[in-house]
Symmetry: C2
């Protein structure tokens, strides 16, 4: 597909600095006002309605099967078709949306401005698993609790993860209601009940599972990448005060389950191919992965080079007409485990993965200043305030604050692609 | 409904020592060989096909609505209808299956021997949450890790729970494949990979959620019981060696997610009414629940008195024609929190519960000898072997071992009801 590296679209807005050039072609579920939800592909500032293109007779073979699978306005069945159907649909969309397309007139009628549409969750998530593969985050959080021994002994052997709440996954733009819960105030021995006072975000990569496996049948590491359909951004909103009191011994629960926000576009595994790279070398002295997690191809090309950005908008910044405050610029290269290793580990006990399952990477903090993925880390556990150009200060999020996650892939010789936004605004509890 | 306390059914086998007398009427999803799955009610040794009874015109009003809601062969939509529909269906089934029924001939044609049918999961579980409300279990397990301080400081304030895996919930009778995973052998500093060597069961009560709540809207404790549709038995199979190595800091993951077995019949909240009782008094010195968990009616009548039994069958016992070995006789009165408290806590942060969500109670060990809910506890962490009449000994489960959970409610003046079996046989890993 080398010819696609520089190809342009007849949708002019896709050819500038857009998250969605011809080389991206992410799928999502959208609706126009008063109309039903359906599957579309993002191109520049627009959305192409795939059901309308199907009705116009412009798909055949595997690409047609792929679009037909989205008839229920979820991508689950499309994910289940696997890589071959994704590739076929992508190839056909490259033709249809490329500058030499013969079908511009017909397609124009199925093209809507994204700003006129609402986005929804792309799939019905069976199970959502949150990993913890951002090693800098694990060290930073560990340091707050165990200064001399931040990483637990299992971290460099086990891609640590835990089950998250699927029912409160929401698309970008959904308000984040400040949760209530039990907390143990400093110096007290008895808990109080009330609104969370240490509300935080977590910058994560979301991973959409494609073809699943049967119960009892592990997915070998060499096959694992084939089971990933695509990617999104994920904000794992966290109530730090609730978390600190509840999480022993079984892990975080209500401190996370009030909402988790996703960017709505599924950036396919194929679109990310040019941005794969070798897994960064493990530091001297770190153990090799156990054999069920070790694959030469995965080591050579299984990591992802995606730049991640976190922006904060406050009422003060808004009122003073100031730009968003950049809280962080990070990268998926901070992942200690590859996505294939996460898939192989998750299924090694026979656990069944299903099309439309979602993984979170865990918070992706970098080792450099300005690359942290949560306020907990940036403020050293709430001790150091962040100063904004508006004169406001923040240790944790206040009502009215808005967090925007963005992601962008750049590489010499490849057209840059983005993920769109993962956005959420904090509102008062009720 | 006092007249139902002694009422008999024209299905004769329901009137003896059956788990499913007229007073029970649990719903489930069954199939006959080569036929589609559909909703039925257990009565004695038989299953009444509710779709067939519907087709015969024997339901009307809310009872009809309730049965119509099961047309997709899950109970999710029926659960969503709430208590009023459950009560209407129960009332009609008491008439139809009672000894004075006018419709015996028509119903006989819709009645099948349960032994000729296969049972399936009763609902499509959106999210499965496993609690930890068995305080004796929490103490026993805590003692193995922290002899001087078995209960963590949050235990008596927080109904501890965590998210479990929904995709590997399976109905009674499904084989349990021994999982593989990472473990840290005693005395080693590096983990090994291989089959679980400390495979265990956990005796739990399963709780089916009926009507849910919107995201951001907590369910008050006074309303919480109304959101419970029914109950089952749940075996939270556990790989103790995998669990010990993986569970810090985010909780159990692959040590649990290989399979979780459910008894297939949903014993309704209404059938359990006669077996509700006052929450046992908290020991002197224990704190009162925080106000969002405290309700006078719940304290007075929110606990459940259900006898729980665990049986073990081994190849040795089978070959020698010996009866199953009773491992435990326990009771749901060992729950430190009521089911209503679990519902109120789960939603207090605004987490959305949905019809067909499932809770596990956590392991229900009693304080008395012979009432423990896991082998980990019975063998003091694998140190004391259990001797069987066959001459075999067990610390953990071996391939070929079968665990059967049973439950029975008994009370003076009430007909005893049971839950049916929750059964699973361990088979070798692959």
């Amino acid at each position: 597909m080398n010819h696609t590296a520089t190809a342009r679209s007849w949708v002019e807005q896709a050819n500038g600095h857009s998250d969605f050039p011809l080389q991206n072609l992410p799928l999502g579920i959208f609706s126009r006002p008063g109309e039903a939800q359906r599957c579309g592909v993002a191109i520049g500032d627009s959305i192409l309605d795939l059901q309308a293109v199907l009705a116009a007779g412009l798909f055949e073979g595997e690409a047609k099967t792929a679009v037909e699978a989205t008839v229920d306005a979820t991508l689950n069945a499309y994910f289940a078709l696997g890589r071959s159907a994704r590739v076929a649909l992508r190839q056909r969309l490259l033709e249809l949306l490329g500058e030499h397309s013969e079908h511009q007139a017909a397609l124009q009628a199925a093209l809507y401005l994204a700003s006129d549409c609402q986005m929804h969750l792309p799939a019905k998530v069976g199970d959502y698993t949150d990993f913890y593969v951002g090693i800098e985050h694990a060290k930073n959080v560990g340091k707050l609790f165990r200064p001399d021994n931040p990483l637990l002994p299992n971290y460099k052997y086990v891609p640590i993860g835990y089950h998250g709440r699927a029912s409160t996954l929401r698309p970008s733009g959904t308000d984040v209601r400040r949760p209530k819960g039990q907390t143990l105030p400093a110096g007290q021995t008895e808990p109080s009940f009330g609104p969370c006072a240490r509300l935080d975000f977590e910058l994560e990569l979301g991973i959409w599972i494609g073809q699943g496996n049967d119960i009892g049948q592990a997915i070998p590491i060499g096959d694992a990448a084939e089971h990933v359909a695509g990617y999104c951004l994920l904000n794992d909103w966290s109530a730090r005060d609730i978390q600190a009191w509840e999480y022993q011994p079984l892990g975080p629960f209500l401190s996370k389950s009030f909402i988790t926000t996703l960017s709505p576009w599924v950036v396919t595994a194929e679109a990310l191919e040019p941005f794969r790279c070798a897994q960064p070398a493990r530091p001297e002295g770190d153990p090799q992965p156990l054999s069920y997690l070790l694959d030469a191809r995965d080591q050579a090309n299984g990591a992802l080079d995606i730049e991640l950005e976190v922006l904060l908008i406050t009422e003060g910044l808004r009122e003073q007409g100031l730009p968003p405050h950049r809280l962080s610029l990070s990268n998926t290269l901070s992942m200690y485990w590859t996505v294939a290793q996460m898939v192989a580990h998750h299924s090694v006990n026979g656990c069944q993965l299903q099309a439309g399952d979602l993984f979170g990477s865990g918070t992706l903090s970098g080792a450099q200043p300005g690359s942290l993925g949560s306020l907990l880390e940036m403020t050293d556990g709430g001790k150091q305030a962040i100063e904004l150009a508006s004169g406001e200060v923040r240790k944790f999020l206040e009502d009215g604050d808005e967090i925007i996650l963005r992601a962008r892939c750049k590489r010499d010789g490849a057209v840059s692609i983005g993920f769109g936004e993962c956005r959420g605004k904090v509102i008062a509890g009720n």
